[in-house]
């Protein structure tokens, strides 16, 4: 035994259900910039909707600051996306094709369609007063509303497509979460952009931002809970390590922000604090979901166990292979499949 044990220390026995415990999948090639993009993109989309609504309903400060925030979120998104490429100088290769099977290609064209309108609207807000009376300034200010509306039409797509961007992968924790992630992400986008509106606009104008934020926070909290309870084995990736810590913190902050939004609606400081809590909750949610995906690629269990269950359900066999020949394909079966 002692000799045997010593030998084992140096050459570990192959785990019967994996190749020396090594991962089957590659971890995502992306770093922190992708969850940061998920946040910034959602923030921009929500801010566009809020500022457009504010424009149409006569809330000038919420409109002006919302448009500028939407452009800032868009700028940050673009920076995160381009700089995370292996070859950033080739970012425009995304525009060679429009490919419905690639959520990233679809997302590229959503962003391409979304950007000009809100960019123009934000520039019109940033225009110095002395230029507004000139011809170009007058045209720009006249175009701001229809331009912002064109972006608002695409904003819901921008806020939600990122869920399928993550889910249409082989990453177990993202793929299995595809029925829930869209609601988590749009809830998160509404909570953060509503929170930003509460932070930027005076309480008298920020009513719609508060409603939007509260609705989004409630949706995010609910969708997260439902997701956690229904994912089965793969859900463990969300319940361990940094993914768990980030999402727990997100839940507390979002819940606190929601309470603050509902109670502190007459106090600018309280509203701003609640808004900040909602934004922080949204950031942590995105980083938590991202971390869960990465963790689920590192442990071969998350790949093998659900696939074994699937195979067992199809053939009515024992999901855990006990011996080397428990589900071997016989020659006749192999021939029959040709």
């Amino acid at each position: 035994m002692s000799k045997h044990g010593k030998r084992e220390k140096f050459t570990p026995r192959a785990d019967p259900n994996s190749y020396y415990g090594r991962p089957i999948l590659k971890p995502p090639a992306w770093d922190w910039r992708i969850p940061a993009y998920l946040f910034a993109g959602g923030l921009s989309a929500g801010s566009t909707l809020l500022s457009t609504g504010a424009d149409l309903s006569g809330r000038p400060l919420l409109c002006r600051r919302g448009r500028i925030a939407a452009l800032a979120g868009l700028g940050a998104s673009t920076y995160f996306l381009v700089s995370d490429l292996g070859r950033p100088e080739r970012f425009h290769h995304m525009l060679r094709v429009a490919k419905p099977t690639s959520p990233m290609s679809v997302g590229t064209w959503i962003i391409a369609g979304y950007s000009p309108g809100i960019g123009l609207a934000a520039v019109s807000e940033l225009l110095p007063a002395r230029w507004r009376s000139r011809l170009l300034g007058r045209v720009l200010c006249r175009l701001a509303r229809p331009a912002a509306l064109s972006s608002a039409a695409l904003a819901p797509a921008l806020a939600s497509y990122t869920a399928v961007l993550l889910s249409q992968t082989s990453v177990p924790a993202w793929n299995s979460a595809h029925p829930y992630l869209p609601f988590v992400f749009t809830g998160s986008a509404a909570a953060s952009s509503g929170g930003l509106g509460m932070l930027l606009a005076p309480v008298a104008e920020a009513g719609p931002a508060r409603t939007f934020a509260a609705t989004g926070a409630a949706a995010e909290l609910l969708a997260s809970r439902v997701m956690d309870s229904r994912l089965g084995l793969v859900g463990e990736a969300y319940e361990q390590g940094s993914a768990h810590r980030l999402r727990k913190a997100s839940e507390y902050l979002t819940a606190a922000g929601l309470v603050g939004t509902l109670l502190g609606r007459h106090n600018r400081t309280a509203a701003a604090a609640a808004g900040l809590a909602l934004m922080a909750g949204s950031v942590l949610q995105r980083f938590g979901v991202f971390a869960a995906g990465v963790a689920s690629t590192r442990d071969p269990r998350f790949v093998v166990a659900p696939q074994r269950e699937r195979l067992a359900a199809r053939s009515g066999e024992d999901p855990q292979p006990s011996g080397s020949s428990s589900s071997s394909i016989t020659a006749s079966q192999a021939t029959a499949r040709e």
């Binding site: 000799k3 045997h4 030998r7 050459t11 570990p12 192959a14 019967p16 259900n17 190749y19 991962p23 089957i24 999948l25 590659k26 995502p28 090639a29 929500g46 909707l49 809020l50 609504g53 149409l56 309903s57 490429l85 292996g86 070859r87 080739r90 970012f91 290769h93 060679r96 094709v97 490919k99 099977t101 959520p103 990233m104 290609s105 904003a155 797509a157 939600s160 869920a163 399928v164 889910s167 249409q168 992968t169 082989s170 993202w174 595809h178 609601f183 509404a190 009513g207 939007f212 989004g216 690629t297 093998v304 696939q307 080397s324 020949s325 394909i329 020659a331 192999a334 499949r337 040709e338």
Partner: protein
């Protein structure tokens, strides 16, 4: 239904738009005759100019120090030592070296459970390739031979293919930034040559040819092995009805796929694309409704 995204697909190159294309080519890797020499790994690196990798290291787990397929290893020879699992069993006695196969002198029934499994893994060149489906630049494409290749002058290193692959094959090379994987030696195929790994394989464990013929050959090989008492032999990736529509590079294995580091039932993520967009549409409508609802009833100021 043309099965462009999921399910059996007979003419994979034709589906990608090639006309008058050659038959689909692929690999049949018969691991029962693999001796773990790694000539395939070396030949591949040499022909394709694949760098050594960031560091040369001993993994300390087995005869395998490559570890996995990746940007710098387009062939990977897995090495698995299987010994009796009971802790009271003594280490297997391999006996004196001889010229005969193990157990030949004493008969098959005296063999112990001790065995070495060796398998040369490679990109599967799936009928429905997750990497190809999600590539947003069109850098990944389907060749006229039915294989899947990255155009290095197009790839901008977005990394989406890395997560699209259900086998963990394709990877971004850190110092280069672009996605890298087996090309089925696309350049050699154009010149009527077989891929470098198959050329270098001394035992014909790696067999290259027309996929239809390889599938027949593989079925016959499994039948032969079963006749000889090797009932653990089974094919992996040969079935057009599997989750990726069958592989262009498939395998004969002697144990469960996960033992070799292969997923037991891989599915191309594109299969659920329509469902996923359905959920996204519902969430997007909810998002817009919440935004509009936030203004309704508050009046125009």
């Amino acid at each position: 239904m043309s099965n462009s995204l999921f399910g059996p697909l007979d003419d994979v190159a034709g589906d990608a738009g090639h006309v008058d294309h050659p038959p689909r080519m692929g690999f049949f890797t018969d691991t029962s005759v693999c001796i773990g020499c790694k000539a395939c790994e070396v030949a591949c690196k040499q022909w394709n100019g694949v760098p050594a990798g960031a560091e040369l290291d001993l993994l300390g787990m087995s005869h395998d120090n490559t570890g996995e397929l990746g940007a710098n290893s387009w062939r990977h020879v897995a090495f698995i030592e299987q010994a009796p699992t009971s802790p009271v069993d003594p280490p297997a006695d391999l006996g004196m070296p001889g010229m005969q196969p193990p157990g030949a002198a004493t008969g098959a029934e005296t063999r112990t459970d001790f065995r070495w499994l060796m398998a040369s893994d490679v990109c599967k060149h799936c009928t429905h390739a997750g990497c190809l489906d999600v590539c947003p630049t069109g850098a990944l494409f389907r060749t006229e031979f039915g294989s899947v290749v990255v155009q290095q002058d197009i790839c901008n290193g977005c990394g989406y293919c890395v997560s699209g692959c259900p086998y963990g094959v394709i990877e971004r090379r850190p110092d280069d930034g672009r996605a890298q994987k087996c090309t089925l030696c696309y350049d050699r195929l154009h010149d009527g040559l077989e891929p470098a790994c198959a050329k270098a394989c001394p035992t014909d464990s790696i067999q290259f040819g027309e996929l239809d013929e390889l599938r027949e050959r593989a079925a016959a090989r499994v039948a032969t092995l079963h006749e000889r008492g090797e009932t653990s032999a089974r094919l992996y990736g040969h079935d057009p009805d599997d989750g990726v529509g069958g592989n262009g590079a498939f395998f004969l294995l002697l144990d469960e796929p996960e033992v070799y580091g292969l997923p037991p039932d891989p599915v191309v993520p594109t299969r659920d694309m329509a469902r996923m967009w359905g959920f996204v549409c519902a969430a997007a409508v909810g998002f817009l409704t919440a935004a509009v609802g936030s203004f309704v009833g508050r009046g125009i100021r």
